[in-house]
């Protein structure tokens, strides 16, 4: 029997993950060769190119949101995982404490310092700074630090009484000098060629100068120096270039039978603002037989306005008046990413690096597989 090619509606239906009151349906993708007899689902880069789309929603340094449409979850997830765990950044790795008489313990202080995100010149961070390799021989440690693998920082703060404080002052920040130690107190110590890569605007500095590191009282002092190295998030979260990198599937709301009048208003309240709109039933719609709008001209009807804003709370499925009138789902191949950078890299750049990283890894492994056969 000759196979009939699937209709557009059928293809569309296959992409939807059904969401019912208590259950979900059609979770796995079916676009594999052999799944539908007589259909060609083999991988073809040109077909992929035609079906694949990227849409931007917003794009700022600290937050970017965009949609990848026409891609499988396994690939989308690889990009997400790479953004979190495999894109290298520079962070404080070693702290040398000369003196710490504050109430915060050395190891806690060191941990706090490590988590502070830093920024610096793009070229310096990408091209100049390389991986630091700890020598196997401990005696070689001193000769393993170079200007292109280690960035030095210093933090010297001493808390003292402020003689100029007004009598009866109770605010410690006014009563004492340096009662609070902030990230901006960290001083960059450029060495060698770092001067040419990290000067002026491009200097290594905390992304947010107002991060509180410790609180001091008169007589207490923090004196330490730090080494920054390149690292990846899989080793320690402080190296992750993102605060969060996540995706969700595009919600699909289908109103199958008219929802009118007060019901329509209630229906709109079942969703976040802006998802459902209310429109007047037009004369033309009311005149159409079998549309369900007959005799309702001028009444309000619910229409889907912006499904992307929906949280898919399924609230509308709990009410009897909407039974059989609405269908919820998610588009399996539409991924709405949200990437929040910590500030060292641009958010959109992190995604591009993730793509490049996956490619490089596949390239490397292809070579390895050929090596294995040899």
């Amino acid at each position: 029997m000759p196979h009939k090619p699937p209709t557009t509606e059928e293809l569309e239906r296959r992409k939807i993950v059904g969401i019912r009151e208590e259950t979900i349906t059609d979770v796995t993708s079916t676009d594999f060769p052999g799944h539908y007899p007589g259909e060609d689902h083999s991988w073809d880069i040109e077909r992929f190119r035609q079906g694949f789309r990227v849409e931007f929603h917003h794009n700022e340094t600290f937050e970017a949101s965009f949609s990848l449409i026409g891609i499988d979850a396994s690939i989308a997830n690889a990009f997400r995982r790479i953004m979190i765990a495999d894109i290298p950044t520079l962070a404080i790795e070693t702290v040398f404490i000369n003196n710490n008489t504050s109430v915060i313990q050395d190891e806690v202080l060191s941990h706090r310092l490590g988590l502070i995100p830093f920024k610096g010149g793009h070229d310096g961070l990408h091209k100049f700074i390389k991986w630091y390799r700890k020598p196997d021989d401990q005696s070689q440690l001193d000769s393993s630090y170079f200007d292109n693998n280690t960035v030095s920082l210093r933090l010297e703060v001493k808390c003292e009484h402020n003689d100029k404080a007004a009598a009866g002052e109770t605010d410690p920040t006014k009563l004492y000098k340096h009662a609070h130690v902030y990230a901006r107190d960290i001083e960059f110590v450029p060495v060698g060629r770092q001067l040419q890569y990290f000067s002026g605007e491009d200097a290594i500095a905390p992304v947010n100068p107002d991060i509180l590191i410790a609180k001091l009282r008169p007589g207490q002092e923090i004196s330490l120096s730090m080494h920054m190295h390149k690292g990846v998030g899989s080793d320690h979260a402080k190296f992750s270039p993102v605060a969060t990198a996540s995706y969700r599937l595009m919600p699909v709301i289908t109103i199958e039978r008219p929802i009118l009048g007060r019901d329509a208003e209630k229906f709109a309240r079942c969703f976040p603002k802006g998802v459902i709109g209310l429109e007047k039933v037009t004369r033309k719609e009311a005149a159409k037989k079998g549309s369900g709008y007959e005799g309702h001209e001028g009444e309000l009807k619910a229409v889907v306005r912006d499904p992307m804003r929906d949280t898919v709370s399924r609230e509308c499925l709990r009410h009897d008046e909407f039974k059989g009138k609405v269908k919820l789902g998610r588009r399996r191949d539409h991924f709405i990413y949200l990437v929040e950078s910590t500030g060292q890299l641009q958010s959109d750049e992190i995604f591009l690096e993730a793509v490049a990283h996956l490619k490089k890894r596949a390239q490397f492994l292809e070579k390895q597989v050929m090596n294995m056969v040899r």
């Binding site: 694949f52 690939i75 997830n77 170079f146």
Partner: protein, 159 residues
């Protein structure tokens, strides 16, 4: 106290920039069967292309597991996980010559990922694996190309 010191204008040695995964702090004991004396086993993972080429001998990270036939084979990847495993599984499954493809991480405390590929007659599991890795690279090209296009036109349309 150790301080970073300036390095003269000499070419960067491959030794001096090695993947973070190499660092002893997070170093996992590795299988003796596959690790040799060469410590730079995943240097190519993160290094720049230049030193990649310098590094002729890289430790083998992919291995054919025993009991394989040409059309049905299991591969062991070192230092790979779900990130590449699932992506590779998907793209290999899209190959019409592949009868079966799956990946597994046999135990979470070992940094290993296994891929099983069974093909129909006419091709081999190794060829299918190579095609999968090649397709993945092509896919990445298309994704970055379209991403850059969308970003630039978005940046142009909004202030």
């Amino acid at each position: 106290m150790p301080r970073a010191k300036s390095k003269k204008e000499e070419p960067v040695e491959a030794e001096s920039d090695v993947a973070m995964e190499e660092a002893p702090t997070s170093h996992q004991p590795e299988d003796e069967m596959v690790v040799d004396q060469d410590e730079d086993e995943d240097a190519g993972d993160v290094e720049d292309d230049k030193s990649d080429e310098e590094e002729e001998e890289e430790a083998q990270r992919v291995r054919l597991l025993p009991g394989s036939t040409p059309t049905a084979a299991s591969f062991e990847f070192l230092n790979e996980g779900h990130t590449l495993g699932n992506a590779l599984r998907y793209i290999t499954m899209r190959n019409p010559d592949v009868e079966f493809c799956a990946y597994a991480i046999p135990h979470p405390s070992e940094a290993k990922m296994n891929v099983r590929i069974q093909t129909f007659e006419g091709t081999t599991a190794i060829q299918a694996l190579e095609k999968g890795l090649r397709d993945l690279q092509e896919l990445c090209n298309v994704v970055s190309e379209k991403f850059i296009g969308a970003r630039d036109s978005f940046g142009a349309s909004s202030p």
